[in-house]
Structures are given as C-alpha cells and as structure tokens.
C-alpha cells in the first residue's frame, strides 16, 4: 500500500461537497429515524466514492501522471481502495454515532445489537462494493464501473424474480419453464452468483464476514491483474 495514495484518496473523498452533504443528511436521519434510512443514504456514498476508482482517472489523463512515477500499479489500485474504504468507515462511524444519539433521545427503538449489525453490514458491504467497482474500473473508462455495477445488481434481482416465476407450476408450462423445473441448478447458479456479488445477510455472521473478505480479495486480485496489463494511451478520452 502507498501511504500518500491512501491519504490523498481519503482526503479527496472526505472533502468532496457531495460527501459532506451526504454525511449531514445521514446524521439528520440517524438522530431521528431507524437505521435503514441513514445506512440506505450512506450506501449512495459508497457508490459515489467507488465510482471514482481508476476508470475516471484513465479518462481524465490523471493515470499517466501516476504511472510515470515509481508506483507499482497493483499497489496503487489497492491503496486507492484502501483510502476509499477508510472514508466509508468514517461515514459508518458518523452514521453509527448519529443512530446512538437517536437511541438515547428515544427516537430509535432498535437494540444496540441491531445498530451494531447495521454498522458492520455497511462496512463489509462497502468493502465488497468498492472492490467490485475497482475491478470494473480497472478495465473500463470514465464512470462505466458504476454503470456495470448497477446494471448487474438490477439484472440479477430481476433474473432471480423472473426465474422464480417461471418455475412456478402451471397448467401449461413453456419450454423454458419445463427446462428450469428439470434443471434447478440453473436457478441455483444464478442465485449463487448474485449472492456472491451482492450478498445480503440478516445478520453479520462469521460466514458472511468470510464471504465478503474472500470475494473482495478475488475482485481486487482480478482488478490488479487487469490494471497491470492495461495500456494507458495518451489523452485516453
């Protein structure tokens, strides 16, 4: 990891106008509402921060200034994710603190354990999202990484719902429905893939933590691999 890159990424993220506004909104909702709302809003900060990873730097020409330096590309990518994750953890702390204040004020009926679980899920989910966005940014330009992320997440949710509908027993099954009923492993595979890329757990368990860490590591490894082999043409866009 490169300390200068981590610090720079953290500072840029935390001083961004949208970030400050977002954090204030999170605090306001945290003090007066249940954890779903502040963490839902804070998730937008994860996506906003992650969208900045690699792709936009490629398009703006910033990467050329970086790779002309004695900077290992893999270490640079990991440091960028590290800085972004540090910013997300800070937002997490802000959200948790605001929820704690809300609970003391009697505005929040959730247990301390539930609040802790929400904070843990946000940090872990943020880590995986940042890793995926860095991976997508390692081979795309501009903000295509966030587009891929959102399209994939939406497509998986829609596909799973559609497959579930298709598998429901009917009087006259279509060929596809019959196929899916015969081959349940297809639905299982889609669910497995979705569960790995966009996992959703009711509680932060040991398995959930391991899943997030393993999948983030795979995403970052692939991201480093792509980024190391990536050409950075002059005046890319």
């Amino acid at each position: 990891m490169i300390r200068a890159v981590i610090e720079q990424t953290y500072r840029r993220t935390m001083t961004h106008g949208a970030m400050i506004f977002g954090a204030l909104v999170v605090v306001a909702f945290g003090v007066f509402n249940a954890p779903q709302i502040p963490y839902g809003l804070a998730w937008l900060i994860v996506l906003g921060t992650g969208s900045q990873l690699i792709g936009p730097e490629f398009s703006s020409g910033t990467l050329q200034l970086i790779v002309a330096r004695p900077v290992n590309r893999s270490r640079y990518l990991l440091s960028r994710v590290g800085g972004a994750f540090a910013a997300i953890v800070t937002v997490d702390a802000i959200a948790a603190a605001s929820l704690a204040v809300g609970k003391y004020a009697g505005n929040n009926p959730d247990s301390w354990s539930a609040l802790g679980q929400a904070a843990g899920k946000y940090a872990l989910g943020g880590l995986l999202a940042l890793s995926l966005l860095a991976l997508f940014g390692s081979f795309t330009r501009s903000y295509a990484n966030i587009a891929i992320y959102i399209v994939l997440e939406t497509a998986f949710a829609a596909t799973i719902a559609w497959l579930a509908m298709m598998r429901m027993p009917r009087e006259r099954s279509s060929a596809l429905a019959s196929f899916l009923q015969r081959r349940p492993e297809v639905v299982k595979a889609v669910k497995w893939l979705s569960g790995n890329l966009f996992p959703d757990a009711t509680a932060v368990t040991r398995e959930y933590v391991l899943l997030i860490l393993a999948n983030s590591a795979v995403a970052l490894f692939l991201g480093c691999l792509f980024f190391r082999r990536r050409e950075i043409p002059y005046g890319a866009d």
């Binding site: 890159v5 002309a68 004695p70 190391r228 050409e231």
Partner: protein, 327 residues
C-alpha cells in the same frame, strides 16, 4: 518485456549514465477492427545529457514512441532501455519526469497539494517535497496560485504546474510533450530557460513539439519521424549551420574578393553559412574588410523549418547522424 517490474532500489553508487536506447520498436493499434501499425521498427539512441527533439506530422508516431518509453503503452516488439534498464523498472521511473500536453488532476485540489502528492509518489518525504516545491513554484511564477484549486488555473498555469510536478524529483530523464503549448511569451521563455537548466545539470531531455523554432533553439539533435519510422536524424548543435544573407551597397563591393572568401554573390546580396553568433560577427568583419558597404545582415530563416518543409537538409545532405547501429 514485463508489464510492471517489482520496485528496485537504485544503486547507491552513481554510475555513468547510459541514456536511452530503442531498437526495433513496433506498435500497432486496432482501429475499427483493423490493425494499424503506428511504429514500424524505430531505432534511436540518445546519449545521457542530450536534449533531443522529436519532429513529425500528426500521426507520425511521436506520442506513441514517448508513451512506450514512459510505459503507458506496451510495445508489440522491440527493446527499449533507459540507462540500461527496462523502461518499466521502478529505478528508472524514480528518475523520470513527464510533462503531458495537458495536466489533468482533481479540479478541487490546490496547486501546492497536487505537487506535494506528486512529490511523495516520486519518493520524496513531505519535508523535502515542501522545500523543493516552494522553490519550483517561485521559479515558475506560481507562488501566488499555490493555494488555488487547479480548476481555477489557466491553460498556461496548468502547463507550468505540469513542469513543476515533472521536475520535483530532479529527474535524470525528462519527457516533455508539447511543453510550451498554451504558454504566453514569458512562459515560453521560462520553459526554454528551464530546459537549459536541466541540460546544464546533466538531465537527458526528450522534447516532442510542433514548434520548430523552439526545438531548434533548445535541442542538440532532432529525430524526424514519418509514418512510424525514423526518417532521419539531424545534429543541430555540433555542426549547426546558420545561413546568413548580407545586403551590400551597390557599387561598393568586389565580387571576386568576396567569392575568394567563400561567399556567394548574386546581385547585391552575398550569402554564406556560419556555425554560431561569433561566426556572424567574423563574417561581417570580413566583408567590411574587403571594402564592401554593408546595408543589412540577417539570418536566412530557421533551418529546421526548411528541413521539415523540404524533407532534406539545408546543407544539401540527405541525412544527418543516424542512430548507432541503425539503418
């Protein structure tokens, strides 16, 4: 060639530097499904401490060549070395400075913070970086803009801060891509002086510029690129040829006397070539000594411009100094 080498530490002993060597460099791009070869076997040698100009029309391959040397692009074939090491060796990167045609970074970042970040990436401590940056910003007349966001910088200021970031690590190898683009006359003079200073401290400079007059003033040698190949190389400094035209007062001169001193005379205009400013003064003294009345003395235009226009040397030679071992 490996894409990214592991970081290596530079030798504590300062070995004699070996410059830049390119052999058989080929690079192609895919364009609308078809492969287009932009560099078709480039060979060149740059001695340590030389200032070299790259000249060629748009699409000739200048930027691609520079991008390969900087590790932005990976060659299809060829051997590229800087100081005897692969171009993507971290020891080389630590001694390299690069000025892009347009410096792009976060618009909200202040100029000084940007430079500190770049300096730290170059391996400088925060304290060393701060001292060097202050000196550089003052030298490049950016001190007043140090605390302003880069988004508020003019094109010329961005160009100058681009130079600052390249020079902050005191590079041994400096790659400049159109460094005077967007600069006002004072900025242009500043850049010219800076390049001179880099040369004086022994840095090797590769300059990619369309401004022929600048290249001619700054560079020791130039490489002409055409259709992805080195068409020829010309030495500007060592055997620099300056054509001089002297307009004489009609009836005041002896044609044969002037010709006996190697001048060509046509009408009332005598022409000759010299190598430097001292040569001009000596030529004028010589002409006056023959009894001729001198009305006007002037340089007969930029010779590099003539080379570029005519595709040949103004001295009549078809080629200059080609790279060692090259075609």
């Amino acid at each position: 060639m490996t894409v990214v080498a592991e970081e290596t530490s530079a030798s504590p002993l300062r070995m004699p530097r070996r410059g830049i060597s390119v052999r058989g460099l080929r690079k192609s791009f895919r364009d609308s499904g078809a492969s287009k070869e932009v560099l078709r076997g480039v060979d060149l040698d740059i001695e340590a401490g030389e200032v070299i100009g790259l000249i060629g029309a748009n699409g000739a391959g200048k930027t691609t060549l520079m991008s390969c040397l900087l590790g932005f692009l990976f060659p299809d074939a060829g051997d590229l070395q800087i100081d005897g090491l692969a171009v993507d060796d971290m020891a080389v990167r630590a001694r390299t400075g690069f000025v892009p045609e347009r410096t792009a970074f976060g618009r909200n970042l202040h100029g000084r913070d940007f430079l500190i970040y770049m300096a730290r990436l170059a391996g400088l401590s925060r304290a060393d970086a701060a001292a060097r940056i202050d000196a550089l910003m003052e030298r490049l007349e950016l001190t007043d803009a140090a605390e302003r966001p880069l988004g508020n910088y003019s094109r010329g200021m961005l160009q100058r801060i681009g130079l600052c970031q390249a020079l902050v690590g005191q590079p041994d190898f400096l790659f400049l891509d159109e460094p005077t683009s967007g600069l006002d006359p004072s900025g242009l003079l500043l850049v010219r002086d800076l390049i001179g200073e880099q040369k004086a401290r022994g840095a090797t400079v590769l300059l990619n510029s369309h401004q022929l007059a600048e290249v001619e003033r700054i560079c020791d040698r130039v490489y002409f690129l055409r259709d992805g190949r080195i068409e020829r190389a010309e030495t500007l400094r060592a055997t620099r040829i300056i054509p001089i035209m002297i307009t004489l007062l009609p009836g005041s001169f002896d044609v044969e006397a002037l010709r006996s001193h190697g001048l060509s005379v046509e009408g009332s205009v005598a022409t000759a070539t010299v190598e430097d400013d001292a040569g001009i003064a000596a030529l004028v003294r010589l002409v006056i000594a023959t009894g001729a009345g001198v009305v006007e003395v002037r340089r007969a235009g930029a010779d590099l411009e003539q080379m570029f226009r005519k595709g040949g040397s103004p001295t009549g030679a078809t080629g200059g100094l080609l790279p060692r071992g090259g075609p």
